[in-house]
């Protein structure tokens, strides 16, 4: 295959990711009615009798979610005068100089000015245009950490350097000062052992659930109870702590506790917890389910095709039909019942926790059931189709033995379409499984997208769509490349190949 084809296709793939993002932005911000956000909002309901507070709350929430820019008289005056001063009080009165100035300024800027129902105070808002919102999102996507990243007026003496050193746990590290992260590159005992903080993806902050957290932190942070151990800090203090040193970031104001532990301003950190992250949990489950699916489905499908209309074929067919005909909700419950009754396995993930192998068994089996059935079905179909083809009859006529015909001729041709699906199934593991994870209460990715859509967590929806889209677009490309590996007759590019 030509390298040029892959590069061009890669470029086009990223273009389509961009188009996906445009569509998602349009759908989220223009097509979903904005008022729906408040359907299940407790605060909104409490404010029922206070129209002014309600309006204020509605506008603030919309601003937070990125729908519009919102300005109030209070903000306008607070920028000029000190909060609580006499000038501020005077400016806040209806009909004051600032009152008219506020209306004037924002009407000139193209804002819509409206008045609160009871107090008649003016407020201004302007919808953020879609293009601007998208541009802002794209421009903030990649964050590169440099020694000039932190600009703190309260800390003018901040040194700016990058040097080699070690983390308190003894790993080698590239330490920065003036950077957002303290350890730019570091090694430790956690997978994948070498970590970097220089280039980070900024996908925005989550709201209303996981409020204020970075989207990526929500997905990638370990879950459950904290794992504490003896740690010696840089100041020499030794205490029980679950600190993850690699996550240290700049904190503008330090309290007494921070000063006891840290010698510099890098005091924000995340903690190590016992369970793997959402994405990690889904990935581990998905990978094992996938291995199980290919390990059982492929040989079973081959066996069925070899004994077409025989007893093995009938049993396999029964299983396939069962999985297809019964909704997943029903057979997952059935297998859970069987597993807990016959093998005494835990019926839910949290009972024994992630540390126990037994809690993984049932979710993984449940997850692999449909993949096993579809792999069996398609392997059987392809092999049977190949067995009937003329070249096989010819090979038989020429006197090749069964084994040779099966493995060198039938299998090689039948496996082509199966191989095409492998990269996509691999990519599918990180999106998680909605129903399986819900039934076993596994803390995975499956619920994230549906929940975020239902809760109008716009940043989360955008971020997840971006991640899933990128991975799946790349896996489609990967699938086509793998296809040409297993069948050299297929060519993808226009000019190359025989046709």
């Amino acid at each position: 295959m030509k390298k040029g084809y892959i590069w061009k296709r890669l470029l086009r793939s990223f273009l389509s990711v961009f188009i996906i993002m445009i569509i998602v932005f349009i759908m989220l911000y223009s097509l979903v009615p904005r008022d729906n956000i408040f359907f299940e909002d407790a605060t909104y309901k409490k404010l029922g009798g206070k129209p002014d507070d309600k309006r204020e709350y509605v506008m603030r929430t919309w601003e937070k979610l990125g729908y519009l820019d919102y300005e109030t008289l209070n903000d306008f005056c607070a920028a000029k005068y000190e909060q609580g001063s006499a000038e501020m009080e005077a400016a806040m009165e209806n009909g004051s100089k600032e009152y008219y100035e506020f209306i004037d300024t924002f009407e000139k800027k193209g804002y819509t000015v409206e008045y609160l129902q009871l107090s008649k105070k003016p407020y201004a808002f302007k919808d953020v245009p879609l293009v601007q919102r998208l541009a802002k999102w794209v421009s903030h996507l990649l964050v590169i950490d440099t020694p000039w990243s932190v600009q703190d007026p309260n800390n003018p003496d901040l040194k700016r350097y990058i040097k080699l050193g070690t983390t308190p746990t003894g790993g080698l590290a590239l330490i920065g000062s003036g950077t957002t992260h303290k350890y730019l590159i570091y090694t430790d005992t956690r997978f994948p052992f070498l970590h970097q903080n220089i280039i980070t993806l900024n996908l925005g902050t989550s709201y209303p659930k996981f409020e204020g957290m970075q989207v990526l932190d929500v997905i990638f942070q370990s879950q459950g109870t904290e794992v504490k151990r003896e740690v010696t800090f840089e100041t020499g203090v030794t205490q029980e702590s679950a600190i993850n040193f690699g996550s240290l970031t700049y904190k503008p104001t330090l309290d007494r506790l921070d000063q006891a532990k840290f010698v510099d301003h890098y005091a924000n950190y995340t903690t190590n917890k016992e369970q793997s992250s959402m994405i990690g949990t889904s990935f581990i489950m998905g990978i094992f389910a996938l291995i199980l699916a290919y390990g059982i489905g492929l040989p079973a499908g081959l066996a069925m095709a070899k004994n077409k209309d025989g007893i093995v074929d009938k049993i396999g067919m029964f299983y396939i039909i069962f999985i297809i005909a019964v909704p997943s909700l029903a057979y997952i419950y059935l297998f859970r019942y069987l597993g807990t009754r016959l093998f005494n396995l835990p019926s839910a993930f949290p009972i024994k926790g992630a540390g126990d192998v037994r809690s993984w068994i049932l979710p993984i089996i449940s997850l692999s059931l449909p993949s096993i059935s579809s792999l069996m079905l398609w392997t059987r179909r392809y092999v049977v189709d190949q067995t009937n083809s003329d070249y096989v009859k010819f090979a038989k006529a020429k006197g090749l033995n069964q084994k040779e015909i099966f493995w060198n001729h039938i299998f090689k041709n039948a496996i082509i379409p199966i191989v095409h699906g492998i990269p996509s199934s691999l990519a599918g593991t990180i999106t998680g499984a909605i129903i399986t994870e819900a039934i076993y209460s596994v803390g995975g990715m499956g619920k994230m997208l549906p929940d975020s859509i239902k809760q109008y967590n716009n940043t989360m929806v955008v971020a997840l769509t971006f991640m899933f889209a990128t991975i799946s677009v790349l896996s489609v490309l990967m699938g086509d490349i793998v296809l040409t590996w297993v069948d050299p007759r297929i060519s993808l590019s226009e000019k190359e190949g025989r046709s």
């Binding site: 296709r9 188009i19 759908m27 097509l31 069962f322 029903a330 189709d385």
Partner: protein, 323 residues
Amino acid sequence: MSEIANNEIMNETAVEEQLPADAFEFAEFDEKESEHIAAPRYSYWGSVWKTFIRNKFTVGLAIFIIILVAFAIIQPMFSGYDPMIAPYINDSSHKFQSPSLKYLFGTDNVGNSVFDAVFAGARNSIIISFVCTAINMLIGIPVGALWGFSKKLDKYMIEIYNVISNVPFLLLAMILSYVLGSGYLPLIFTMTCTDWIYVAYFIRTQVMIIRDREYNLASKCLGTPTWTMITKNILPYLISVIMTYVSREIPALISYEVFLSYMGLGLSAKYASLGKLISQYTSFMTGYPHLFWIPVGILACISISLYVVGQRLADAADPRTHM
């Protein structure tokens, strides 16, 4: 060959020798007749039918599914079941009854007959899944065939696929339910507006695999037009694969409808559907298992029969099995 048979042949030749020469007549030389190659008359669909009815079990299933579908369409007209009306809702003795002669499948949490509910639901689910499958196939197969065949088109279609398949489906379903409401046609539109691309993508990969085979290269060299190549050289190869896909698609669409109902984006409250019944009765699974397993069982019956019949049709559609 046995000796007796040999003797018989000998005898026959002996009889022929005894015929007088004037018993023969010279036939006219017919050029057309001499060029004709004698072969049994072969009709493709006739052979498909013959192969299909050879297996009595599948024929039985096919009749069963026709009766079941007919029953599901006719029964609700007489039962007058309406999910919005619950006449026995205040009569607690009328709720959660076990199956009896009066109520074949028992009664549910609002005292309605499960038998009526299941068939009213089955009718809607069957109609929706059939219509959706038909639409998906009618759009997906021609698009997929062209897409797989033309490398130029592939360049653009693969990106369209990437875009359509990656826009979160739930978000789209939600928006469509705002715009179109929740009824019959909106649901069909929601379930088909993006789903055809998966059929097309599946067909595309299959076409790509046989597109570059030698016989197609030869056909192309001989100047066969693209559309003829697709319809005569490639699609007949795929009939069995397509039939397998269709027989999976119908149950899959019913499950899909279950999922949409589970997320609250399915049909509105005034329509019954198997999906809604199943997700609604899931909470009674431990207390009143019949409520959950009866709709699941009916769904399984429909899916299994359709699937087996479809598989049999797929086998029968393969001309290599006609010999």
